[in-house]
């Protein structure tokens, strides 16, 4: 087995939790004050959709994003504005076991990189909140490159920019499509589905 000497981390739902539901559950309430899941689902499938938000991950600023969407749903302007204004409320916190493992790997001398589908402005904010997002050797942010996972080109960009060898790099991500792209380029991969299995994989590869 080849030795792994670098780890490439996805950020959202690997190192920090992210889900727009966390924000809209505090906005759409039923009469008894609990979250109105039905309206939350409606809003995120009909108004602030993932197809729309993905444009932010591809480089469109929060201001442009909101300016594009509000004319289509003028009656929901305030709710749409909340999407980026209150973006941090979509992130309830860090995934602590993964943050600890990342630190442990770094201390052991493994090179740690990031590859994230994230907008530039929102990632800047998130980095100020979570200090462990500042100690990557380097990080590629989709919004800055105007391309995103699973486009093989963004993986190629990581290979060139970081000087990593796919066969000696473990890529951890919670999206099967991203994992498939990375695997095709020769990366060692782990489809993230909770810290337990991931830590087990890291142990098997002697990373922690």
């Amino acid at each position: 087995m080849t030795t792994i000497d670098a780890v490439l981390f996805d950020v959202g739902n690997v190192l920090i939790e992210w889900d727009p539901r966390h924000l809209y559950r505090s906005i759409f309430l039923t009469k008894d004050g609990s979250a109105d899941e039905e309206r939350v689902n409606w809003f995120l499938t009909e108004v602030c959709t993932m197809d729309w938000h993905v444009q932010h991950d591809l480089g469109r600023s929060p201001e442009e994003q909101v300016a594009v969407l509000i004319p289509q749903h003028p009656e929901h302007a305030a709710l749409i504005q909340a999407f980026y204004e209150r973006f941090q409320e979509m992130i309830p916190g860090a995934i602590a076991p993964m943050v600890a493992a990342k630190r442990q790997m770094k201390e052991a001398g493994t090179r740690i990189y990031g590859l994230t589908n994230f907008g530039v402005e929102t990632f800047d904010d998130t980095r100020r909140r979570f200090d462990f997002l500042n100690d990557f050797e380097d990080v590629v942010v989709s919004g800055a490159e105007r391309m995103k996972k699973p486009d093989p080109a963004i993986f190629q960009l990581c290979i060139n920019r970081f000087g990593i060898t796919p066969e000696r790099t473990l890529f951890i991500d919670d999206s099967a499509a991203n994992i498939a792209s990375a695997k095709a380029l020769g990366f060692e991969t782990h489809l993230f589905d909770g810290p337990d299995a991931c830590l087990q994989k890291c142990r098997a590869l002697a990373l922690i």
Binding site: H22, E63, Q88, D125, R128, R129, F130, D131
Partner: protein, 302 residues
Amino acid sequence: MPAPKSLDGRRIGLVGLGRRGLAVARKLTDEGARLHVWTQNTEKAAALGEAHPLIEVEPCPRDVARYTEATLIAVNSDEALERVVFDPEEDRYGVLHGTPPDGLIVDIGETAPATTRSFADRVRQSGRIWLDAPVTETALGGTISIGGTDMALARIWPFLNALGTKVLHAGPVGSGQAIRTCGAAIHGQMVQALAEGLALAAASGVEADALLAALADSAVGGAVLSESGRRMADREFRAGRTVREQAELANQALELARSAGIELTGLANNADHWQTLLDGSQGDLNISSLIIEIAESRKGSQ
């Protein structure tokens, strides 16, 4: 069209318009936030409200909390904090009485960690949420440490982010104030170590300037050495943190150590020094004036 600002159209409450409160008000309005404020000095508040289109002055702390996303409290003592949050008086209801269920109250002053924790408990019992986020002079434009839940922090985050360059979640409620207290305890003892080092150098025939220049790039170099060391060498004790403030901070740290059940001899000795200076009417001088006492004690023992 003017460039959008990070807090355009958002409403935040602010209680207390001392040096800290005013600095916070300036930063938040610069980012476009609309402020609802209350302070004990009504004339001062009214003047500010008239001067600034984004600032609205409220008649009592309760009203500050009514139409805002959260209330920041910047008062100067634990007693004042208790009054503005919990006061049940007819003419001056506290912030708690205007805060909606699940609403946020943020202690941005320099409160004792045990006090902020006990107020957090009382607020929680009323179904409201407390955070501690001391906005000290160094935190303003630097790192702000927050105690409280992650979700509460996420809600207040855009506002705190406008105040500091880094906003870090330090742990459960009280952690922000505990970090501030630990920082002050370390700083006080660094100043003492520096004063003793300079006294030792002088007693060994070494000029203060030679010592400071030699150590600037060493492991002990840094802001304390360059700022306090300079002051000690020049006997320049105006402005900056005063002995009185440091004595209070050292007492907070001692109290924190006592309640945690640990004994810290360096801290205890350091606190005694600040108290001695305070009793010797050096309270309003900069903490670097500790060099006077330490240099004198050398002469005294000769």
